[in-house]
Symmetry: C2
Subunit: 379 residues, 2 copies
């Protein structure tokens, strides 16, 4: 039984080295951390039923403000009863602010002190996203955990540009907090986002300023954008000790299984990434023995499943030969089964990390697991 709560909160249940076992509580349910949030971009975790996402062990899913504001539109979702009702997911939902995808997907965009002006990649329509409007949209969607609007920059970046974007993001954080205070419902939470590229000084100043604003949770943004795993981890090591232990820490858009393990080892609590579903659609399966590329001809007559001991029917009951055939044939079921396999694997991975932390054996578990996953090519 999950405890009924009416406020947002975080409880640190155990610590093992820097790895943290905890619970984020929301009125819509508890999120066991470390947690991986499957990405339900436009209101669906691609090629999966939400029943499967839930059964795989996910407590929370993510949805993208940028996509939903353009289609079907935040006001429309609100008129239809909010995002939970619309997409039929009754657990907690985290939404991003839209900032990252405005930068990566939209046409012509213009950043000013006020916000970001851009054109939709779908129909060219013009939109303005401000810190206030981003909060507004996330409230219309009914997101349980919301993100401040921030400015993501591409790496590598000039120090000056990284500093300018970080400072702007801090001013937007303040405005987002003010907007949130007047508009949010009970139990909803807004997270601030640490920026600053890969500059340790900028990151520290960003983190300290945000901590001063007293957000209920903190995200680290602008990583896993090409800087490589080592620089990402170094940056995390600089930022995480500054963040208060009593608040959850979310590393945005990360990552591979090894990214997750090494980040949890440094004290991250929450993750999201399209990798499991996107790779699934492309024929790549995550397993406890590394990645398996089902496009490879070596699977064509292999009647073994991906993992006979998996709790996921897609990994346990279907032959590699059949999966190979489906992927080669471009069939829906191939994408459906492998997205399921990978979504379930990511949840198994998080559950294993939570157990290892609870039992005080995270370091040795991580070492063994990283070696086991080593079939995994770096990408």
């Amino acid at each position: 039984m999950q405890e009924r709560v009416t406020t947002f909160g975080y409880k640190l249940l155990a610590q093992d080295g820097d790895a943290r076992l905890g619970e984020v509580s929301t009125p819509r349910g508890i999120v066991r951390t470390p947690a991986f949030m499957p990405v339900g971009t436009v209101g669906t975790v691609k090629a999966l039923y939400f029943d499967q996402v839930k059964a795989a062990g996910a407590d929370i899913v993510l949805a993208n403000t940028y996509h939903l504001m353009l289609r079907p539109g935040a006001e429309r979702v609100a008129r239809l009863g909010g995002l939970h009702t619309f997409m039929r997911w009754d657990g907690p939902i985290l939404t991003d602010s839209g900032g990252f995808q405005v930068m990566s997907l939209s046409r012509i965009r213009e950043v000013s002190e006020e916000g970001v002006r851009f054109q939709s990649h779908i129909d060219g329509s013009r939109h303005m996203l401000t810190p206030e409007r981003a909060v507004d949209i996330q409230c219309l969607l009914g997101a349980d955990i919301q993100m401040q609007l921030d400015q993501c920059i591409e790496l590598p970046a000039e120090h000056k540009e990284a500093e300018r974007a970080m400072q702007l993001s801090l001013r937007w954080a303040e405005r987002a907090l003010n907007a949130f205070a007047t508009r949010a419902g009970p139990g909803q939470a807004l997270f601030g986002i640490v920026q600053g590229g890969i500059d340790a000084g900028l990151r520290r100043r960003s983190a300290e300023a945000l901590v001063g604003m007293d957000f209920p949770g903190y995200a680290v943004g602008g990583l896993a954008v090409g800087e490589g795993q080592e620089l990402m981890l170094t940056t995390l090591e600089g930022v995480l000790p500054i963040l208060p232990a009593a608040k959850p820490r979310y590393l945005m858009g990360v990552g591979s299984p090894s990214d997750l393990i090494l980040s949890v080892a440094r004290g991250v609590d929450m993750f999201d990434c399209v990798l499991p579903t996107r790779n699934g659609r492309h024929g790549l399966a995550f397993t406890w023995n590394g990645k398996v590329n089902l496009r490879n001809a070596c699977h064509a007559e292999d009647s073994a499943p991906l993992d006979p001991e998996s709790t996921c029917p897609a990994a346990r009951d279907y032959s590699r030969a059949y999966l190979h055939h489906l992927i080669k044939s471009g069939e829906y079921l191939g994408a459906m089964l492998l997205s399921w396999v990978n979504t379930a694997f990511y949840q198994e991975l998080m559950a294993a990390m939570r157990s290892a932390i609870a039992e005080g054996r995270f370091a040795s578990w991580a070492e063994t697991t990283l070696a086991r996953l080593d079939g995994e090519p770096k990408d």
Copy 2:
């Protein structure tokens, strides 16, 4: 409990006008007729799990010899334990002979007395399909019900061309029977296919000759290829009375809900068609009140489901607004849900026909239902 049988058979349970209620028995289970067979083209009913196909009420599915012989290959499927094991469907499977799709899909093909020589549409590889090879392939796949190789012609056709193709198909029928006698396993069945275009005389001669060969079941091929519903029904009316009442009759590649109702009224027992799944992928839903095009903007804020009384969760639990959004966004889940809706509707339709025949009220049921479905545009 289904009776365990080791031989193929057909039992006529009730007749209401010309509409027939029956059971096709195979070692892999009973097929309640009239039956609609979902199409599992390359070994998957597109965008569905076989569990959903089964739960929707399907007793039997169809798979395409042409597709499977090219990829993954019949010998490969046999080495993997046969098609039932490969695709995880333990009920009966009917396979076509490949003839129809050689004509519609392959590159360069050449019909001779021996068979059809063609090039794969996938990789240009060269293949020869003869009546014997078609049986061979279907035995390798392990199909419970197999089809003779026939020559389908495009309509409209010259009388001479239709006659030549019909006569060739009869000689191939004889060769298929001989091949089947030496290769098939216990309980497997081979159906002959009535051809002859829309010429009543040719159709009659084809049917009579096939009846003389004593097949365990008969198909009517070469219809629903553009001749229109009226000509299709007229042709059926000429052919069906010639076929023995003690054998099942299968109308290949048909059709819309009204096609099915009007054909059952004339004595057809089995159908297959890609319409429910293909239309589903394109955003068209079949319901008891006609077709619903979910691309239409009128659904954008409609929180009602497609059919609150459906036994199918996809029709009952998801709003039209969400389905509209998924289809407009090109999301997998849109195709998944609507293929499910339509597959379930087709099974509901067949179940309703079986009840109506059993209770001797088929004619009035058909009249009411056709009026109800009249929202359905002709296509």
